[in-house]
C-alpha cells in the first residue's frame, strides 16, 4: 500500500493517513483481512513520527475499520456497514462532481473552487443553521 503524507496541507498527518487507508478500503485497494505494515515499519517508510501511525491505527480501530492483534499487526476489517458508508461517499462524490462541473462552466478556475470549498467547510455549523 502506498501512502503520501503532505506536512503543509493544514491537516494533521494522522488524519491524512486515516483518510488514505479509509479511501483504500472504499476503492478496494485494501480488502477485508489485508495486513498493514507495523507502526515502526510504516513510520520509517513515511519518515514520520511513530505516534502519527499509532494514532491513525488506533482511531481506525475505534472506527471498526482496523483490527489490531497483539504482536501480529493491523488487519483491515471491511464489514457490510463500511461498504454502505462507502456507497454514501460515492453518491456524495457524484453530486460534488456535478456541482464542480457547473462551476467550471460558469468560468470559475479550479483554484477558486478549491478555496471557496475550504472557506465554506470552515464556516461554523451553528451559523448555517441560524441563517436557514
Amino acid at each position: 500500500m502506498f501512502f503520501k503524507l503532505t506536512p503543509t496541507t493544514g491537516q494533521p498527518l494522522y488524519l491524512q493517513l486515516m483518510q488514505q487507508i479509509r479511501h483504500a478500503t472504499e476503492t478496494g485497494a485494501l480488502q477485508d483481512g489485508d495486513q498493514l505494515a507495523g507502526i515502526r515499519t510504516l513510520a520509517e517508510e513515511l519518515v514520520v513520527s511513530p505516534n502519527t501511525v499509532a494514532k491513525a491505527y488506533s482511531e481506525l480501530e475505534h472506527d471498526g475499520l482496523l483490527e489490531l492483534r497483539q504482536g501480529c499487526g493491523a488487519f483491515v476489517c471491511v464489514k457490510r456497514r463500511t461498504r454502505s458508508l462507502a456507497d454514501h461517499v460515492q453518491v456524495a462524490r457524484r453530486r460534488l462532481r456535478e456541482l464542480i462541473e457547473q462551476l467550471r462552466e460558469q468560468g470559475l478556475l479550479d483554484e477558486e473552487i478549491k478555496r471557496a470549498f475550504e472557506a465554506e467547510l470552515l464556516y461554523p455549523t451553528e451559523v448555517v443553521v441560524r441563517r436557514r
Binding site: E44, S49, N51, A119, L122, Y123
Partner: protein, 296 residues
C-alpha cells in the same frame, strides 16, 4: 507534568548584561519527538548545554529524567541515560574512526556493537581514516553513530543535520523515527524546517532566549490559517482585532489576516461585514516560524 523528560523552571543564563536564555519554562514529554527551533543565537545551544550540566544556569532550575541539572551526582546519573550529539561534533582528531568507536563503546553500558557495525557500513565511513581528515558530513555521521549505537532513554541532538546531504538527512530522520519507535524520547534543534515538519510531534520556538511557541504540530496544522479578504471599500481592519488574530496586513481593498486560532470567527466576521471574497489557506511551519520570530 511530572512525567516530563525535560523540565525547566525560570531557567536563565546571562553573560554580563546579555541574557542568552531568559526564564525558560520548558516541558518535554516522553515518547515523542520534540523539535527545538530558533534563529542563530536564539539560545538553543546554551539551553541544551545547561540541561546537560555543561553550563551553569545564572538562575532557575531544571531536571532531565528527574535528575537536577545543577547537582553533580545526579548529573552523572543522567549522563548514563542520555545520548547527546553536540553542535560542533567534538571528536579527537588524532584518533581513527575505528579507534573513536572503540573508545566511546568503553564508556557506555548501553552500547550496541551490532548497531555500530551496521551504521559504519551504512554511513560508508572509512574505519582507518583519522577524524581530522574526515569531511564535515562524515564527522557528523560519526557523531550520530556514537549516539545511535547506544540505547538511551533520551536523545538530545544539537543541529544533527549539519553538513549532511539530502540522502544523509533522510537517513538521519529514519534513524530518529526508529529510535522513537523503541521508546526513546528525542529532543533536537534544527534549522531544517521542512524535515522538522515531517517527523516532529511537538515544536518549541525560542527567540532571544525566550520561548515563544510550545505546541503539537497537529495543533498548529489544525489551528493556524491565513485568511485573505477583499472588501468593496476600505477594509475595516479594527473589526478584526479578535481572538486568535496575530497579524493583519492591508493593501488597498485587500486584507490578509494571520490567525493562530479562531479562523471560523474571522470568516464569520468577514461575512457579517460583507467581504466580497473570503479565501482560507493553511499555514506551514516555515511561515509560522517566520511570523513568530518577526513579531518578537
Amino acid at each position: 507534568m511530572s512525567s516530563s523528560v525535560i523540565l525547566t523552571r525560570e531557567l536563565t543564563k546571562s553573560y554580563g548584561s546579555l541574557a542568552a536564555v531568559q526564564e525558560l519554562n520548558l516541558s518535554v514529554g516522553p515518547n515523542r519527538i520534540t523539535a527545538f527551533l530558533g534563529q542563530n543565537g536564539a539560545g538553543k545551544s546554551t539551553t541544551i548545554k545547561m540541561l546537560l550540566g555543561m553550563i551553569r544556569p545564572s538562575s532557575g532550575e531544571g531536571t532531565v529524567l528527574g535528575n537536577r541539572i545543577t547537582n553533580a551526582a545526579e548529573n552523572r546519573e543522567m549522563r548514563r541515560k542520555v545520548a547527546y550529539v553536540a553542535e560542533n561534533k567534538p571528536l579527537y582528531g588524532y584518533m581513527s574512526v575505528e579507534q573513536t568507536i572503540h573508545f566511546a563503546s568503553s564508556f557506555y553500558p548501553d552500547w550496541r556493537s551490532d548497531v555500530a557495525t551496521k551504521l559504519l557500513i551504512e554511513y560508508k565511513l572509512p574505519p582507518q581514516r583519522k577524524v581530522k581528515a574526515l569531511s564535515k558530513g562524515m564527522r557528523t555521521k560519526l557523531a550520530l553513530l556514537l549516539a545511535f549505537a547506544r540505547r538511551p532513554a533520551l536523545l538530545i541532538l544539537d543541529e544533527p543535520s549539519e553538513g549532511l546531504d539530502p540522502v544523509g538527512i533522510e537517513h538521519l530522520l529514519q534513524m530518529l523515527v526508529a529510535q522513537a519507535a523503541e521508546g526513546v524520547a528525542i529532543f533536537f534543534s534544527s534549522h531544517q524546517i521542512a524535515e522538522v515538519e515531517r517527523v516532529a510531534d511537538h515544536v518549541c520556538i525560542l527567540d532571544n532566549g525566550r520561548l515563544l511557541l510550545d505546541a503539537s504540530l497537529d495543533q498548529l496544522r489544525q489551528s493556524y490559517r491565513r485568511i485573505d479578504l477583499v472588501f468593496a471599500s476600505t477594509p475595516p481592519e479594527r473589526e478584526f482585532r479578535i481572538t486568535g488574530v496575530e497579524k493583519i496586513q492591508t493593501k488597498g481593498h485587500q486584507m490578509s489576516v494571520f490567525a493562530s486560532e479562531n479562523a471560523e470567527g474571522v470568516i464569520e466576521r468577514a461575512r457579517d461585514l460583507d467581504a466580497v471574497s473570503v479565501e482560507v489557506a493553511p499555514v506551514g511551519l516555515r511561515e509560522i516560524f517566520l511570523e513568530t520570530v518577526k513579531e518578537n
